[in-house]
């Protein structure tokens, strides 16, 4: 899982040409300062940093296009950067080059309440968007753990705790503005809700992790804030009963908005980190119900019945806004809570997603596998859609432990693929899952490679990520 540090660096004269052009155009916004470059050389996953040669803070579509044009002319890699919360090494400049920081492109461009949509610049974060939507009666539901940018969320096809009700970025991006590999500004999709005109370039760029173009604006679907929301917590005697509760609820079609599993290790971590009181370190489900007053009561009643049949304890309700916020904040902080279990440790998060009919097998086998390794690894997941994460903790100074951790993470991916699932439900491929991609898709990887070559013939867009260009790159 080490970032493949490449011998392929931009030629010094090519880099000099690009630097000259960038400092002329961007002045102080083209930064070569080591600490800024360091900050832009990695996301939140493994600290396999690879520093870009320069970081440019762009403000407009045209500026991004100018950076990409300069890079294309000199064949220098260009890597888009939001706020650096990705988990799979997406932003590491493994071949050097220019990092385009989009975080200052942070304007909400328009909100159309009557059409339930909006358009934002790529650097707007999900929390910022929802803060700006306050008072309109609308919200944007996709909520990965981190307060990521919407551009980054589109680029990695992110998801969150309520995908089971509202879908992932795949369903919620209506259109994009993309700077293509030759520095042109292209708009894909539109504000129309459906279109069968032309190939679906919007969805091709969603999830392409900056390897086909740089997303600079995102058109998004919005939803009405539900009339009533209530959240509840139920604790279970063992992992199997918690997972079975989820499966039965999904099978019955209870339209729950969020259903999150925390195993005993994760619950323990969250109780300590987020000071949750009155719970036990047992497998736990967090629920949230959205709808009309009567609808919510009905959903919750059904859910309670199912949980009780599987040995779940009484529901603890959180209907007041502050209580709910505290609960979901604890869930969103699960990654940090897990890291706090072993101060000084590193962690990476696996991202298996399987058909719901295989969820129990997959989670339980994975738990046994973890226990056999002796590593500390909490499990947490948006289990309503079959997606769960193992946070694999290890001591970065112990090579043997790191190897053990990497092997475990690899087995988690492969187990999911063998069960008809995927190695990544929402984090993306980055550099860490190139091999798993090949295991998952086989022949189709050839087509992905051909598309990469067609849309980025010089291989300058975030090179070395998402799709192994040479078959040898995939281990």
């Amino acid at each position: 899982m080490n970032a493949p540090i490449s011998a392929r660096r931009p030629a010094p004269e090519a880099l000099a040409a690009v630097m000259g052009e960038l400092s002329a155009r961007f002045g102080e916004r083209a930064v070569v300062n080591a600490s800024i470059r360091e900050q832009h050389g990695h996301g939140e996953g493994l600290a396999d940093a690879a520093l870009p040669d320069v970081v440019v803070f762009a403000h407009t579509n045209e500026e991004v296009a100018a950076v990409v044009s300069a890079c294309a002319a000199a064949r220098v890699p260009v890597i888009a950067f939001g706020v650096g919360t990705s988990l799979e090494g997406h932003v590491a400049a493994i071949h050097g080059g220019v990092c385009v920081d989009l975080s200052q492109m942070n304007r909400v461009l328009d909100v159309n309440a009557e059409d339930l949509d909006c358009r934002v610049q790529a650097g707007v974060t999900r929390e910022q968007l929802n803060a700006e939507l306050k008072g309109t009666g609308l919200f944007f539901p996709i909520d990965p753990g981190a307060n990521a940018t919407l551009g980054g969320m589109a680029a990695t096809r992110a998801s969150g705790t309520n995908a089971v009700r509202y879908g992932t970025m795949r369903e919620n991006v209506l259109g994009l503005t993309v700077v293509t590999a030759d520095g042109r500004i292209v708009r894909t999709g539109g504000r129309a809700r459906k279109s069968s005109a032309g190939y679906d370039l919007t969805r091709l760029y969603v999830g392409s992790e900056g390897t086909l173009g740089i997303i600079t604006e995102v058109g998004l679907r919005l939803f009405g804030v539900p009339e009533a929301i209530s959240a509840a917590v139920a604790q279970f005697p063992d992992l199997r009963s918690a997972v079975s509760t989820v499966i039965v609820a999904m099978q019955m079609g209870i339209p729950v908005a969020r259903i999150e599993l925390l195993d005993a290790v994760q619950m323990d971590a969250c109780m300590r980190y987020s000071k949750l009181e009155g719970y036990e370190a047992k497998p736990t489900l967090f629920f949230e119900f959205h709808g009309t007053g009567a609808g919510v009561a009905e959903q919750a009643g059904l859910m309670q019945q199912v949980a009780a049949e599987h040995g779940g304890g009484a529901f603890r309700w959180a209907t007041a806004q502050e209580e709910r916020t505290k609960l979901w904040k604890a869930r969103h902080d699960a990654y940090y809570a897990a890291l706090a279990l072993q101060p000084g440790c590193f962690g990476f998060s696996t991202d298996a997603c399987v058909p719901i009919s295989r969820l129990a097998d997959c989670v339980l086998e994975t738990r046994e596998d973890i226990d056999a390794t002796g590593l500390t690894c909490p499990i947490v997941g948006h289990v309503g859609d079959g997606n769960f994460h193992v946070l694999v903790l290890f001591d970065p100074d112990d090579p043997a432990e790191r190897a053990k951790a990497e092997a475990l993470a690899h087995r988690v991916s492969m187990r999911a693929i063998a069960m008809g699932g995927t190695c990544t439900g929402e984090h993306g491929v980055g550099i860490h899952k190139l091999d798993a991609l090949v295991a998952e898709h086989g022949e189709a990887v050839d087509l992905m490679r051909t598309i990469k070559r067609a849309l980025d013939p010089l291989d300058i867009m975030n090179p070395g990520k998402t799709v192994p260009l040479q078959k040898a790159e995939a281990r």
Partner: protein
């Protein structure tokens, strides 16, 4: 005519009854649901195994014979229009439902399975397949994927692309490849989304895993009458703007309701300028709450009468009018031409007003039925092909509506696909940069260009030609391209 070597090679792969070359045998394949365009293919193959399809593709690829895959032939855009030098590859014999996994809520089906047959088979498990194009009793799921079909319920439940998990397909050289997977997401580029709506230009689909949904416990539909079309359009905005996403939200204007009422007697008010059908589904409590809110919004928007279905029989009766709208219009006019523009919902009143004005200007009646909730218009222009000049006027009227759709930020096709019908309109909607990207995608899958040639994505040369003819608002489109 096929080259005799090619014909012999195909004959070796298929039983005699599965390879048609005589004109009387190939004639039934000369058009699909868009009968304005016709072409007889050199041959029609009717394979029944994936190995046969692969063999056919290998033969055609080696001999550079174009291949047009065909499902049930219900396309409204000429997607299955044959190539005169090519082969029609009929997938009609791929009619098996291979598996239903009630727990994972998926079904694995062959491409020739009818849309409705999936829901019928899943009904035993309390499940159904959500996208429901009006042709669902006849159209095949393979064609639905190829066209990214919608339907009256896609407002809430999404288009085909949102309801398909995995597609197995053969590339132009006969190699098998799988897109997507059984779980919710899948790693890497979203090739599954590319194949949805690719109109047979990228690969030949041989197997599909669709998502099934639990049948809602309860559903009710409200029929609301308005004395003014724009008020009905505004009511649509009020409902959506209130954050309600109904299971279906359909509008019909007076010419459409009158045609329908004479045909199916669904009880639509004949004096209304427009009617809305608004459906709510879910648990009994949810439907009750939502229907009360919908009723309130409809009243506030000026509905002159509201009728809510009291039982399942009445619900189906109210829907029967909408579902029968196309054949009903077919009864009152010798010919009709269906437009498929989609616009942001906000522009609905404007587009309706203009359409009415142009209907007078062109002297052609126009019945409007549409998926109002997602802004997908289906104006049906009534004409008589035998009357001098009416075809031309019809096409000019249609082009004008589509031009307006693009102008207000919409698209020329919401769910019927481009096919051969809307190639020129594509030039107006997409800039050369985007068209180039489309060609790049096509070349990645099918560098030989043999799969369904001449459809869906216009060549830049064609757009240059189109631009020369259509100087828009005094501006020449694509001025950088050479003219011919």
């Amino acid at each position: 005519m096929l080259d005799s070597y090619v014909q012999a090679e195909l004959a070796a792969l298929l039983p005699p009854s599965a390879l048609l070359t005589a004109p009387e045998d190939t004639r039934p394949y000369e058009c699909d649901g868009l009968t304005l365009f016709r072409e007889r293919p050199a041959a029609v193959a009717l394979p029944e195994t994936e190995a046969q399809v692969a063999g056919i593709l290998r033969v055609c690829h080696a001999a550079r014979v174009p291949v047009v895959a065909r499902g049930a032939g219900t396309s409204l855009s000429g997607g299955a229009l044959p190539d005169r030098n090519g082969l029609v590859l009929s997938m009609a014999k791929f009619r098996r439902i291979l598996a239903i996994d009630a727990l994972a809520r998926t079904a694995v089906v062959q491409p020739g399975v009818r849309n409705l047959a999936i829901s019928e088979a899943a009904a035993a498990h309390g499940l159904y397949y959500a996208p429901d194009p009006s042709s669902q009793i006849a159209c095949s799921i393979g064609g639905n994927v190829a066209e990214n079909a919608g339907g009256v319920h896609c407002l809430k439940y999404g288009l085909t692309v949102h309801n398909v998990r995995r597609v197995r397909a053969l590339l132009v050289n006969g190699d098998a490849v799988e897109f997507g997977g059984a779980s919710l997401d899948s790693a890497g580029y979203d090739l599954l989304a590319l194949v949805n709506g690719s109109e047979g230009l990228l690969a030949v689909i041989t197997e599909i895993t669709v998502k099934l949904l639990p049948k809602p416990q309860h559903a009710q539909v409200a029929l609301a009458a308005f004395d003014d079309v724009e008020k009905a359009g505004a009511a649509v905005g009020a409902i959506i703007g209130a954050g309600i996403i109904p299971a279906g939200l359909e509008m019909m204007d007076q010419p459409a309701t009158r045609a329908v009422e004479e045909f199916v007697h669904a009880g639509y008010p004949l004096d209304a300028a427009a009617v809305l059908l608004v459906e709510s589904d879910g648990t009994i409590e949810e439907v009750g709450d939502e229907m009360a809110e919908i009723r309130r919004l409809l009243t506030e928007s000026g509905a002159t009468s509201i009728r809510v279905s009291r039982d399942e029989r009445e619900r189906l009766l109210l829907w029967s009018g909408r579902k029968a709208a196309f054949p009903a219009v077919g009864r009152i006019s010798p010919d009709y031409y269906c437009i498929d523009g989609t616009i942001p919902r906000k522009a609905l009143p404007l587009v309706l007003r203009r359409t009415a004005e142009w209907s007078k200007e062109f002297g052609l009646a126009c019945a409007n039925v549409f998926h109002a909730g997602d802004g997908n218009l289906h104006p049906l222009i009534l004409f008589d092909a035998n009357r001098e000049g009416e075809i031309e006027r019809t096409i000019a009227f249609g082009d004008r509506i589509l031009g307006l759709c693009i102008e207000v930020g919409g698209t020329v096709t919401g769910e019927h696909g481009v096919g051969v019908e809307k190639l020129s309109a594509m030039c107006a909607q997409f800039a050369p940069d985007e068209l180039e990207r489309f060609h790049g995608v096509k070349a990645a899958f099918d560098p030989s260009g043999l799969l369904n040639p001449g459809k869906a994505v216009p060549t830049l040369a064609r757009c240059a030609e189109f631009g020369r003819m259509h100087v828009h608002h005094g501006e020449l489109r694509h001025p950088d391209l050479p003219r011919f």
